[in-house]
Symmetry: C2
Subunit: 358 residues, 2 copies
DNA sequence: TTGTAGGCGTTATCAC
DNA sequence: GTGATAACGCCTACAA
């Protein structure tokens, strides 16, 4: 009953108690070697007596060169990173490929000046999640660690496996639909342009200074069709931000009011729709609204959103597979996933110039 | 230019190249010892030349006995765990207290039979998040590891620091409000009763078999006021599940229809409200709906929900503080946080027995 | 201010 | 089947 101390028992202690060598005890726990049944039993018994949970993970990691941990580096705060339904779907995919393989996910909210030390976090590989243009900065220290790096929707970087989405192409595709319907005055509601998440009108300067890759790419795609489209950058991908953006864009003289809004996420689109409805602007008759993502709106809006559906879960799976491949010594291929236009009921031809349906 | 190999450089290699001993090089990186400026410079130069990122985290952890990682053990899949706004708020609080202190959060979705090995995950402490009654099981191996354990809203367990919410008391408080208003036919819409998340009518058997602590506590509180209240358990804390539950409860002969619904989360409440509205049942005139959590509904419903506001962020903070205290050698106190009734506009006196406002 | 020695707890390798 | 030995890469007394 009276155990020596409350200090963690070691494998050596268990071995001693069982009257075997440490190596043999090790074999019992790792299962990678032949051990006589009687010996095994004795070791396990000794372990039970000492309340020994198993080999120390840190020591094991040092010896084996593997921690069983995959880092997920995000630029947002913990909460914010997971408040985006797209990231949640991605996590589902990652879980499928990694957690189910026994890997743990180490979430590292990293921003310049953050107290999280990417050089010191124990991990076998890292996935760069909502990381923006100065990716290079954060990546540098990770590169030095010689661990596999996977970046999701990020600018290309040598040595980093990219898991990409056809953001620009998809946005262009959506914009084309609007043009074909006859729209000319189109406004953008973009995702945050940088880590500051400043809400405000799009200006050439702000766009030039933008560091958010996904937002920039989607802007680029929309501009390929509507080169002069103005708009607003939101402070986050939320209904509330979309609502604010919608108000800013729609509370203007009728002649200036856009006939269509290209929102960079479904939540933003839902906010725009709400703003429109409150102003008595009918969707889609007076205003077309295009979303992005294809998430389940689950009653956030009753409209069937016309949107670009991205394979978010698959994005996570692809990232997970890439990590596993890299860890297995292979060189994972770059992946580019494609989004698909889903026609809902929020896009239509623009209202006739004179007629006001109000 | 031609570095010896592509294998990770070690502190020893850097030291050798700088012409100093390993211990001196160590001092340079840990900063906890006097080093001559010239020496330091030479070491850093050598490090740069070898593209050395810093001491190996695993080796450092072994030596120091600290990994800088806090485990967060969840019973749900990764995505599901973070799909709950309450958990997100909690994460915000946790981030404040832990990530900002440089700790990383290792997310471990653990369920019986899961491939995640709680005995092998490198961590200095663990926070048990949505973990249910057979907590004891998962905790056993963690106890053996002699690391501090903090459980959020879980049954008490020796050696585990509890961070609790007054779930039963708050639910009772809300139920009392309804009774004071004159309600007698009250139905419950509960959170999932177990990891299966089976949706279905509440029965004594199902309740007895329930493993979800929070759900059980909130049921208990409501029953203290309405001992006979029946209801439905949802398959998750979502608007969709609330909607389904609402339909099940409200599509019955008028005489049997509850005059009030106690939902165990705001999302569920929002779903119930939607179902009611679709059935032409006015809230709160024909039906009172009480929520729980006090999250921002951000346009999910336009009603100002009457709900029990819980300090979710503070829950996370408290957990984070408890972990830090334990790691510092202190014995953290148990914490019980209290929820507060916020009167919105979804609760009113029941409709007069005969009168049908339809 | 710097170097030496020893060990953190495991596991791989090779004898026996 | 089992045991000795030697790392894994680092840090911390302590000595110089």
């Amino acid at each position: 009953m009276s155990d020596t101390a409350n200090t963690r028992p070691t494998l050596a202690a268990v071995a001693a108690r069982a009257g075997v060598s440490a190596s043999t005890a090790s074999l019992v726990f790792s299962g990678r070697g032949p051990v006589a049944d009687a010996t095994r039993a004795r070791v396990l018994e000794a372990a039970a007596e000492l309340d020994f949970a198993g080999p120390d993970p840190t020591a094991r990691s040092l010896r084996r060169g593997r921690t069983g941990v995959i880092g997920v580096v995000t630029e947002d705060s913990l909460g914010d990173a997971f408040r985006d339904p797209i990231n949640l779907a991605l996590l589902d995919g990652l879980g499928d490929e990694l957690a189910d393989e026994g890997y743990g996910l180490l979430v590292l909210p990293w921003a310049p000046g953050s107290s999280v030390d990417l050089a010191a976090a124990p991990m076998d590989a890292a996935i760069l999640l909502g990381c923006s243009a100065d990716l290079a900065h954060s990546v540098e220290v990770l590169q030095q660690r010689r661990i596999p790096l996977v970046a999701i929707e990020a600018p290309e970087l040598p040595g980093v496996v990219p898991i990409d989405l056809d953001n620009a192409e998809a946005a262009r595709h959506g914009a084309e639909l609007l043009r074909e319907l006859g729209h000319e005055r189109v406004a953008l509601v973009t995702l945050p342009l940088d880590v500051d998440r400043t809400r405000g009108a799009l200006t050439p300067e702000r766009e030039a200074a933008a560091t958010a890759f996904t937002a920039s790419e989607r802007i680029r795609g929309a501009r390929a069709v509507f080169p002069d489209a103005g708009g607003v950058s939101a402070g986050g991908s939320t209904v509330g931000e979309g609502y604010a953006a919608g108000q800013a864009l729609l509370q203007v003289p009728d002649a200036e009011r856009p006939t269509a809004v290209i929102a960079q996420s479904d939540l933003l689109a839902a906010g725009v729709i709400r703003a429109a409805e409150e102003l008595g602007i009918a969707v889609p008759d007076d205003l077309s609204v295009l979303g992005f993502d294809g998430i389940r709106l689950d009653g956030i809006t009753s409209h069937a959103l016309t949107t670009l559906v991205q394979p978010a879960v698959e994005k996570g799976r692809a990232a997970g597979r890439a990590v596993r491949a890299a860890l297995a010594g292979d060189t994972p291929d770059a992946v580019t996933l494609t989004s698909e236009l889903r026609r809902g009921a929020t896009v239509a031809a623009p209202p006739p110039p004179g007629g006001q349906s109000l």
